[in-house]
Point group: C2
Chain length 388, copies 2
């Protein structure tokens, strides 16, 4: 394991009726607030009205950017940057899911960059700073509410790129599980798949973790497997929604991956998928993950995959490692495609092999994808084919 | 579960060779540093010299308070407060274990109180603020390096009292597992017992937790049971020392107990024990905990105790709850008294029942101890007797 610096100062208000603290928290950063959100579902649920009322009660000046897309686009980011400059914004308030929060992070970072915000994603220019961000979360999935990164799509270049900077970590996040009661079964399922994937990408790393963090990740994965079916069956089950919400933050806030340089495997592959086809991130991950596991299962990885199977899916401790690993993959597939009801193949999404070669090359960044096991473009293409 | 605010901003440098960052972190708070430490073991190990060298390299002005006791005393705290005023201290640097850090927290809080610092512990005066605290940890046990509380003894009044305030949480802590290589088997064992107790006190609560946090606590408890024997057998096993150190912080930094008002059971009993007999905190907890479990085991608590037994000690899943609970208590005892080699009875420590009645009354705060199960003075006395 490596030395690390743990520095996750995001303050979280968890539970219903915490929005009464929104004004006091925003005020710490200034008086001019840019509220960012997506397609307007927060207007239907009444959350928009509650947020605006709190901002008015606090005497703050409100500006708005709506229409942030799922798989948020650089065009929205640049629009937000322009608004921040025009209105001398002090603090950004993202109300929504990971897409809205991710876009807001790059609005905040783009504010400090003289030029197209895409420069910060294409690595032309390093991120140096970010306007302070407060979030009100409406979807348990990406963990963007407590992490320091974000992912932005560029439809022109067919790129979907993730970058981060400590200043992009939200200062304060409001997590109200009841705000996810209206999230439908498909988005709930995709969110659960996303959370699970964040944990698996870190849990299966080649760099050596800490026993303690592995055990805590197993507990988090077990939580997703436990809570997601309850949330699907009873959308207003507070306990289930609360577990998914808090797990989404801890799956990716950085705590579990402190002591390793862990390169992820499924996320880079999925990013190509949604860059080319604009599908839901969690769905892409769900389809890819079991195939990736099959691809990397060998003598060396079998004990690790078996431990996952036994801890998270309670696979019989008496089974030999390789069998336990296979059984774990089968139970994961059953969880994702039967219990969560997600589509299990690319074909079912209307995706064929047209772009596989190009996507595979891009996923490997022009070289080798250094994940749990090194993946060459041919490996990635084979995994894509197994998903058909 | 209750609403909560998660706010744990302590920055942690973890690993060897991180002290090169000490100067830059101290400087954020000012230039006049009061270094606090205990009996001088840090001089023998060379840690003192390294810390002083870093302070000098950063051009800071150093003052010192040494001789802070195990079970630190209010007399040391008041001495420290006087030094802070005399030398216009900007930042406190505690180098040591929980005792040194706890005393330092009350030095920092006492600085803002006009009068005897004991007023802050006896509840005569609320804690309002604290000088910034940086710590360099040398013992994995109390978790004081990342929490917002501390415990101070008053030998005159035979009181040992814990209090906390958000401002008392260390701003930065340096956790170097190699700094605990020289910790002997007895202190290593007592530290492990203390960490385990913090987790058990929270895990066994009457107020309803979150599934996710219960699973993560099980992972942390499993970590202690896994790592402590390795650290005893191989004092310079980095992985074992690292697991104990990071687990000590997470056992009690507040993360696991956010969504419950959890009143602890064994700690209040142990505080009376060490207030009367000045024994090591972790040893007192080790002796008390299995007896307390036996005392509270009933039909209602059996499933909870059984889950603990199965998760932490891998007790056979097929055993009925009550038997599994008993087996868990037996394995916990074997862990504490055989594996860790701690003394198992009060008698072995030369403690008899002379003060049991008084200690039991004090542990219940003059009323009922509202822990996992309500404990009246007669209950506490019975638990004390079972420890003879």
């Amino acid at each position: 394991m490596q030395n690390f610096v743990y520095d996750i100062p995001t303050k979280v208000y968890f539970g219903p009726d915490q929005l009464s603290h929104l004004g006091e928290e925003l005020k710490k950063f200034g008086t001019r607030v840019l509220l960012t959100y997506g397609g307007g579902s927060i207007k239907k649920t009444g959350l928009y009205d509650r947020v605006v009322a709190e901002i008015e009660r606090a005497g703050l000046t409100l500006f708005e950017l709506s229409g942030i897309e799922p798989n948020p686009r650089i065009t929205s980011v640049n629009k937000g940057v322009a608004l921040c400059r025009e209105h001398k914004i002090d603090v950004l308030l993202a109300v929504g899911g990971g897409s809205t929060i991710d876009a807001t992070k790059f609005i905040g970072a783009g504010y400090y960059h003289d030029g197209d915000a895409w420069d910060l994603l294409s690595d032309k220019t390093p991120i140096t700073n970010c306007l302070p961000i407060v979030t009100v979360l409406t979807l348990s999935a990406t963990g963007s509410e407590m992490d320091a990164g974000g992912v932005i799509s560029n439809l022109e270049t067919r790129d979907k790129i993730g970058r981060g900077h400590p200043a992009m970590r939200p200062k304060v996040s409001f997590l109200d599980p009841t705000a996810t009661y209206t999230v439908g079964p498909y988005q709930t399922a995709c969110g659960a798949a996303d959370i699970l994937s964040h944990l698996m990408e870190t849990y299966f790393n080649a760099d050596g973790s800490l026993y303690m963090l592995d055990r805590m990740m197993e507990g988090l994965m077990e939580t997703v497997v436990h809570a997601a079916p309850v949330a699907l069956a009873e959308p207003e089950n507070y306990e289930a929604r609360a577990n998914l919400m808090w797990a989404s933050s801890w799956a990716i806030n950085g705590f579990t991956r402190t002591c390793q340089t862990c390169e992820w495997s499924c996320h880079p592959m999925e990013h190509e998928l949604s860059a080319f086809y604009d599908i839901t991130h969690g769905l892409g991950l769900a389809i890819l993950t079991p195939r990736w596991m099959e691809h990397v299962l060998d003598e060396e990885s079998a004990p690790h995959l078996a431990r996952f199977a036994r801890s998270v899916f309670r696979v019989d401790a008496a089974l030999p490692d390789r069998e336990a690993a296979r059984e774990g993959i089968a139970r994961l597939s059953a969880f994702l495609f039967d219990t969560l009801g997600l589509k299990s193949t690319f074909t079912a999404l209307g995706i064929d092999d047209t772009h596989f070669a190009e996507m595979a090359k891009k996923a490997c960044g022009g070289g080798v994808l250094q994940g749990y096991r090194p993946l060459r473009p041919a490996d990635v293409e084979a995994i894509f084919r197994a998903c058909l």
